[in-house]
């Protein structure tokens, strides 16, 4: 039975955060009056070593067997305080937190009401704490393999670091080639090219045998728990095998021509195609969405590399962790926004990068609408900073830097082109400020706007009207070509990803990480890690760095070879269970089955599979099924304390 509860209450000021709106002393004194409470303290930073030391001492001094900490949200520091009381010899689940910061001091302005609420929250926590029982985590062996979803720079970097550390890595990429968006990026800082960066990473991947690359593949099912996830990968058919030596004969014969998404629609490609020079695996691929299976390519291929009957195959992997590095989509301006789509000299920044890249459709020559423009303008913040109705409410971080890189590149190649950059704030942060200086030296003209410029198409070309705020004049700039510096938006197919991996998205639509600073590369669900632009706009260097960081976090999870799961699983009181089987059908993880105990069929919970949602215990008609840590009596006690009923 639960031994006689001796509760210690510790209230945190959190600097100003709580103390400003909650009279912590009054709450501490009130806590002393609550039943089972032996001692109550308040300190300016409970989460600091001093605060934790205070808790440890009080546990030893008054041999407390329950601890209530009234501070910030459990999502912030429940792990911290659990390890603190564990180091004082107390089972780490005999802790209950009262959230008097996010739910109280930060959310209410009236100090007196906030203090009253804080008292209630403490009373609720004490009520539940008194009924808590010691729980043991379950340890499970861990499979030393990692699934990396997304073959962009972040995914590749994560895969390389994980493989070098010693894990077995499955790198799954949806497109037919590795490289992601970075491969299509043209020029970068200190004169590097996106394709070279991708090439270096690909070379590292190719000669590392622990990395198994699956292109044209996607994750369809994902289940299990940290250290033992089951992932089902569907590898779509490529229709071309290793015998292909990239001779290109098949491409010539292929009758189907579609817009080439690897050049952002600037050129066209055939149904059978090779994405770009540095693509890996170096094999042609047939785009099954448009291929009419006419067989011309098969006839054309002397090496017998094409097999139109190839089927997709699925793989079942048992992985320890998953790194999601699925990247982003460039913002696609709707037709008419800045006259996009009404004039073919109006292109996006990504298309311009393809034009300036030697692998691009024009082999690096700036030919827009058939000619080298005499005057070219960039409009920044397209799709970001709420400049247009359909744009997002954040800054996409990298468009300023890449716009200036390309503007400088244009001025270097074509010195007499007039280049205008229409901007709100030039965000070339850190050392990229030198780009802003170089742009100045290269005679790039900057035009600052507050109200977004209007672009209209007139017979003699594109005219941009903008109110230049620093000279307080409405000026109109006739240009031959206009580049919309579009930002980064979450991927269109992100909802499928969320459905399969249970990740969730934040206010800006990108996948939400646990905490921007505490751990920027981990998802709230244990075992799922996020690398690169999937959590928000980043440039290529930052994405690569996030890839390594994710690899490091995976290593912290899997390096011990075993992993402990949260103990909040369901458990059956076999005496009371009537074998009515209601719970079996409700469990989303199929963790409950019936087994025979002295000739009675009784429910049994497989703790390894149970993720601790508690649905079964809410439905169990005879109250036999209870969830550890969230038992009926514990929650009932909280309800009573919450309504002021019971102990006043």
């Amino acid at each position: 039975m639960i031994q006689e509860p001796r509760v210690g209450v510790f209230i945190c000021h959190c600097g100003h955060n709580i103390a400003a709106k909650v009279d912590v002393k009054q709450v501490a004194d009130y806590a002393k009056t609550l039943p089972n409470v032996i001692v109550s303290h308040h300190y300016v930073f409970m989460c600091s070593t001093v605060g934790q030391e205070l808790i440890r001492e009080e546990i030893k001094k008054h041999n407390l067997n329950r601890v209530v900490v009234a501070a910030c949200s459990p999502s912030m520091h429940e792990p911290t305080f659990r390890t603190a009381i564990e180091s004082a010899g107390l089972n780490k689940y005999l802790l209950e937190m009262a959230n008097i910061r996010e739910h109280c001091s930060w959310a209410h302005s009236d100090k007196e009401a906030a203090t009253e609420k804080a008292k209630d929250l403490v009373r609720m926590a004490v009520a539940k704490a008194s009924l808590l029982e010691p729980l043991e985590e379950e340890e499970f062996p861990v499979s030393p393999t990692v699934l990396v979803l997304g073959g962009g720079v972040a995914g590749m970097r994560a895969a390389i670091d994980l493989a070098e550390w010693g894990f077995n890595v499955y790198l799954v990429e949806k497109n037919p080639t590795l490289g992601g968006r970075a491969a299509l990026t043209g020029w970068l800082t200190n004169n590097r090219r996106g394709a070279d960066v991708v090439n270096n990473l690909i070379n590292k991947i190719v000669d590392n045998k622990n990395i198994h690359v699956f292109t044209n593949a996607e994750l369809v099912e994902f289940s299990g728990f940290p250290g033992n996830f089951k992932a089902k990968i569907k590898v779509n058919p490529r229709f071309v095998n290793e015998k292909c030596i990239l001779c290109g004969e098949c491409e010539i014969e292929c009758p189907i021509e579609v817009s080439n998404e690897y050049q952002y629609g600037l050129s066209r490609r055939k149904a059978i195609f090779f994405p770009f020079k540095a693509a890996y695996p170096p094999i042609y691929v047939i785009d099954q969405r448009v291929c009419i299976k006419c067989g011309e390519c098969v006839k054309a291929c002397q090496y017998g590399a094409i097999n139109l009957a190839e089927q997709s195959l699925t793989l079942d992997l048992n992985v320890g962790a998953i790194v999601i590095a699925t990247g982003y989509d460039p913002y696609h301006p709707p037709k008419g926004e800045y006259a996009y789509g009404l004039h073919n000299n109006i292109i996006t920044l990504f298309q311009l990068e393809r034009l300036l890249d030697e692998d691009g459709p024009t082999q690096g020559k700036l030919i827009i609408g058939g000619a080298v423009p005499k005057r070219i303008a960039f409009i920044l913040c397209v799709g970001s900073r709420n400049t247009t109705p359909s744009s997002k409410n954040y800054c996409s971080r990298m468009c300023c830097t890449s716009t200036l890189i390309n503007a400088i590149k244009i001025k270097e190649k074509y010195p007499d082109i007039d280049v205008y950059v229409l901007y709100q704030d030039i965000n070339t942060y850190g050392n990229d400020e030198t780009l802003y200086e170089q742009a100045g030296e290269k005679l790039v003209k900057f035009i600052k706007f507050e109200k977004p410029p209007t672009v209209d198409i007139s017979p003699e070309g594109i005219v941009i009207d903008v109110y230049e705020t620093t000279i307080q004049e409405e000026i109109s700039i006739p240009v031959d070509a206009l580049v919309l510096s579009v930002g980064m938006v979450p991927r269109r197919d992100q909802n499928e990803l969320i459905a399969t991996t249970r990740a969730s998205c934040g206010e800006d639509g990108f996948i939400r990480e646990v905490h921007l600073k505490l751990n920027p590369v981990e998802a709230p669900t244990h075992g799922i890690f996020l690398a690169g632009a999937v959590t928000g706009p980043k440039n290529i260097i930052e994405s690569i760095r996030a890839g390594s960081a994710a690899a490091s976090k995976v290593a912290t999870l899997l390096s011990e070879g075993k992993v402990r799961t949260e103990p909040f699983t369901a458990n059956v009181n076999e005496e009371r269970c009537s074998g009515c089987r209601i719970c079996v059908g409700l469990c989303p993880y199929k963790a409950i089955s019936l087994r025979e105990i002295n000739d009675r069929m009784v429910a049994y919970v497989e703790r390894a599979l149970c993720m601790g949602c508690g649905t079964c215990s809410a439905a169990c008609p005879s109250g036999a099924m209870q969830q550890y840590g969230f038992k009926d009596i514990q929650i009932m006690a909280q309800v009573v304390a919450a309504t002021g009923g019971g102990i006043k």
Binding site: F45, R397, G430, I540
Partner: protein, 450 residues
């Protein structure tokens, strides 16, 4: 046992790298110049854009550093010399004398009360005071006292008192009162030699000296502060325990101004942009508004750089919800009015194109940041003193010497989220090297557990 990794610098990035390495099962030495780890972040009150309190993020990580027994903490020590190459670096570390036996010291602080000598304290950027024997700040890790040799009457008595005392040792108040007899006046500096597999440089940033720009009158005019000083003033654990008062008359200001790019984006001082001061100023403006609701806050900027996750909404919220005013124009000169010690800011309001002079009770300079110090490690640094990265597009953290990684502010001015990410990416690379060294040869280690 795998060969250990050395992390130089105990700021947020150094701590994060150390924790990651420890979790990877690698032995780590964390060397920190100051008496306690925590770095600049320990001096911050709140962090943008979530307005979490800085110590709510930092102190649990510092506590975690103490919990792993494969982390050896060497604070108040400096790296003298680094030799060797990847997998086999020999490092000489000078452990400066603390004149307190840290095994006996419990950090109770009774000695600090007795000590007669008052000295401006570095933690509060010389706004507050500390004693000659002191604990750097309440949440310090390790929470131990130490004696500041230069100001201690006993260790280094000023000449006039010295001959008056004619050879008799002076003071010794702390020794009398220390409950665990931890004071040891003749503690000598010791050199520790380590052989490590890899080194992570996390030496971090420091503020550029604003007095190098005389026009702003920092150091001359009383009510001109740097952003770090203002952060201490706003912080509840600061010298004015959280109420914003002017240095000249101790009264709360009615109008506060922030001046951006002081020494940054300026060919005369530092070409680069210091990345986080736009958001730091916005945050401080919001904190000021929270503490003094009717204070008028204005930020003078050239480009409001709100580029990170959640930054732009934070900037918009500051403008709409908290009424922080933003003026585009570079403040060039500050003069002080004699009568009320208020400050006149000379700037051109570029949205209205004429020169203005605004009066403020208090001015905060968002000063540029420079690398903390020239590192002893054999790595190339650029002219600003930042450690250069071999190939930012390959593994983004390796310095020009293989096996030596550089993270956080030591490589480039950057904010906390990027530093923490960079710390983890260095950790995996360092532990990969460390794991490979297991096979090669046994190692000799020393240095005690802090």
């Amino acid at each position: 046992m795998s060969k250990p990794v050395l992390v130089i610098g105990g700021g947020i990035s150094g701590i994060q790298a150390t924790i990651d390495l420890a979790k990877h099962g690698v032995e780590v030495y964390l060397v920190e110049r100051n008496p306690s780890i925590g770095g600049k972040m320990a001096q911050l009150d709140k962090t943008f854009p979530t307005l979490d309190c800085a110590s709510c993020i930092l102190t649990p990580k510092m506590a975690e550093v103490l919990r792993y027994n494969n982390i050896k903490l060497l604070t108040y020590s400096e790296v003298q010399e680094v030799k060797g190459n990847v997998g086999d670096f020999t490092v000489k570390i000078l452990r400066k004398p603390r004149y307190v036996d840290w095994d006996k010291c419990t950090g109770c602080g009774t000695c600090t009360e007795r000590c007669p000598v008052k000295v401006p304290d570095e933690y509060n950027v010389k706004l507050g005071q500390r004693k000659a024997i002191y604990i750097e700040y309440p949440q310090a890790v390790p929470r131990k006292a130490l004696i500041d040799y230069s100001h201690c009457l006993r260790l280094n008595p000023p000449p006039d008192l010295k001959e008056k005392a004619k050879g008799k040792p002076l003071c010794g108040a702390c020794e009398k009162v220390c409950p665990t007899k931890a004071i040891d006046y003749n503690q000598q500096p010791e050199i520790i030699e380590l052989n490590v597999a890899a080194i992570i440089l996390a030496t971090g940033l420091e503020l550029y000296d604003a007095s190098n720009i005389p026009e702003y009158g920092y150091g001359k005019y009383q009510n001109v502060y740097t952003n770090l000083e203002f952060e201490r003033i706003v912080s509840s654990t600061g010298p004015t325990n959280g109420n914003i008062i002017r240095r000249s008359d101790g009264k709360p200001p009615k109008r506060i101004a922030w001046i951006q790019c002081v020494g940054s984006r300026d060919v005369r001082f530092n070409h680069y942009c210091s990345a986080f001061c736009c958001m730091a100023a916005t945050k401080q403006a919001i904190l000021a508004k929270e503490l003094l609701p009717e204070v008028d806050t204005t930020i003078y900027y050239m480009d409001m750089r709100a580029f990170g996750k959640g930054f732009y909404e934070f900037y918009k919220r500051a403008m709409t919800e908290f009424g922080v005013k933003y003026v585009r124009g570079k403040v060039v000169k500050i003069t002080e009015r004699q009568d009320n010690k208020n400050l006149l800011l000379f700037y051109e309001d570029t949205i209205h194109s004429y020169m203005k002079k605004d009066e403020f009770d208090m001015v905060v300079l968002s000063v540029a940041v420079r690398p903390n110090r020239i590192t002893a490690a054999p790595v190339k640094t650029d002219k600003g003193g930042f450690i250069q990265i071999m190939d930012p597009y390959m593994d983004t953290v390796t310095s020009t010497t293989e096996g030596i990684f550089v993270i956080g502010g030591a490589a480039e001015a950057r904010d906390i989220p990027d530093s923490v990410t960079m710390a983890s990416s260095a950790a995996i690379k360092a532990s990969t090297i460390a794991k490979k060294c297991v096979v090669e040869q046994t190692i000799i280690t020393s240095g005690e557990r802090a």
